[in-house]
Symmetry: C2
Subunit: 287 residues, 2 copies
């Protein structure tokens, strides 16, 4: 009736993402015929057509789109269950500690707040061990969803807080980071418009979901790359004020008057019921 094993979900999601049975089968490490059969069985059991097989490839039906979305969420929930259970049992390879929290933090974001938080929490009686997990750009939500992390520091408006509970920790303005010798570096403040359309300094572009937004600027993958390009006078970037902490001598940070403020939140899966997590959140909100 309403079974639906995660195996079937994995299969369907693979096919729906590849829109190609052969490639999906390869990705799953299996042969194509059993995959075709599994999807057919799934459609029969749901009583719904999920894929439109045109002889030239495959397309999703409306129901297929729905199952792709909901199925991903269900798969994330299942892998999260595994990860968190292993962690709760101390079987994550390290072998011992029973009480541990994994905190996802965007690599390279403000160390000051993080330090204060970790120190304050460590001073609490009975504090759990906190593992800091560096995450890629805007990857924290995914990590919370699939259980790689228990709690995260997220930055509005860059991260979406949809589906999580959160508390505000800090608000800061944004600054333009320019080469020290650039004419605008002498200014006391700038506007967003002034730094986006510089003919000599195209704005750096960060990858979002693996793809780069279009534009003339260089494609950036990590902060060191970016820092170097700015120092070389090849690009300019916009960051929250706390980025001043990692600036080089060749950089100058100039406040932007009209950039949206960046709000740092501590966020966690809404259904969490962990005492250690609650204590960490309490500590964080008191900072």
């Amino acid at each position: 009736m309403d079974a639906l094993e995660t195996r079937e979900l994995r299969y369907f999601v693979a096919v729906a993402e590849e829109l190609h049975f052969g490639r999906a089968a390869a990705r799953l490490g299996m042969a194509q015929p059993p995959l075709s059969r599994a999807i057919q069985q799934l459609e029969r059991r749901l009583g719904v057509r999920l894929l439109e097989r045109d002889r030239r490839g495959v397309t999703l039906t409306g129901a297929g789109e729905m199952l792709l979305h909901e199925g991903r969420a269900a798969l994330d929930a299942a892998t999260a269950a595994v990860r968190r259970t292993r962690r709760a049992g101390g079987a994550d390879g390290t072998g011992s500690s029973r009480n541990r929290l994994v905190l996802a933090v965007k690599a390279g974001s403000s160390h000051e707040l993080l330090h204060k938080l970790l120190d304050a929490y460590a001073a609490e009686p009975g504090a759990a061990e906190v593992e800091v997990l560096p995450s890629g750009t805007c990857e924290q939500g995914e990590m919370l969803r699939d259980g790689r992390a228990d709690v995260a520091l997220m930055h509005k408006p860059f991260n979406s807080l949809v589906g999580f509970d959160s508390e505000e920790l800090m608000t800061e303005g944004q600054v333009a980071i320019l080469p020290a010798g650039h004419p605008l570096a002498a200014r006391g403040s700038l506007t967003v418009a002034e730094v986006t359309d510089l003919p000599d300094l195209p704005l750096a572009r960060w990858a979002r979901d693996g793809a780069y937004p279009p534009g003339p600027g260089p494609e950036i993958r990590d902060q060191t790359q970016l820092a170097q390009l700015i120092a070389l006078g090849r690009t300019v970037a916009v960051f929250p004020e706390s980025a001043r902490a990692w600036l080089w001598a060749e950089h100058t940070a100039v406040p932007l008057t009209d950039a949206p403020p960046v709000v740092t939140h501590i966020a966690w899966p809404a259904h969490s019921r962990s005492l250690a997590l609650a204590a960490l959140i309490r500590t964080a909100t008191r900072l």
Copy 2:
């Protein structure tokens, strides 16, 4: 490695809830030995002890508690995927309509707001068909989680909005509903303390999660029962103001000055991405 089929989750949740292999097996419609074996395999694969088998029954370890929580969430997500996919494909038994929303509403709550909402939405161009699903007391969250509903009207502080996105629709005070002849019925307003400790009129008790809170008052299961008992002068109840709509001639509603206000929200699973749902929410917030 990180598989974990929903079958295994169902098995574990059954055992964890029953704390008894035999009963869990009966509930699952299978024999006890394969269930024992499945749980052992699960523990081996996770590398974690989930249950402490004392010869007199079974208890959960910390990891077991975690898996119970997270596993329930994952199972809900999986059944929600099935339900929503069937609905999107029009295979929910009715057979045809492709675009449908299920709105969970606490049985007997304000019809006025609901009517306005449904009428306004039906007038929208391209509105989906809205099925109104009456839900038990405080059951709406569960229905959103397991996919029986797509959207719900929920009432703070009775319903927990944890894990959902929501918009406020309406705030109202609460009233005490008394037998018309009661001395307090003549008063213009009352306090909570005045109606909770009436020696002649014990406060009615509603079931929460199938269990009744302790107290002297009668145990109530539905609103008609309650209305009758109030009319007979046997009990008193506290309701949002909109309950006036279903009062009988033998009832009197008196405002409570210090009861917390009740806020009606429209709530939906945070990850929803349905156009029909978005339109309904937009309509609701414009009311």
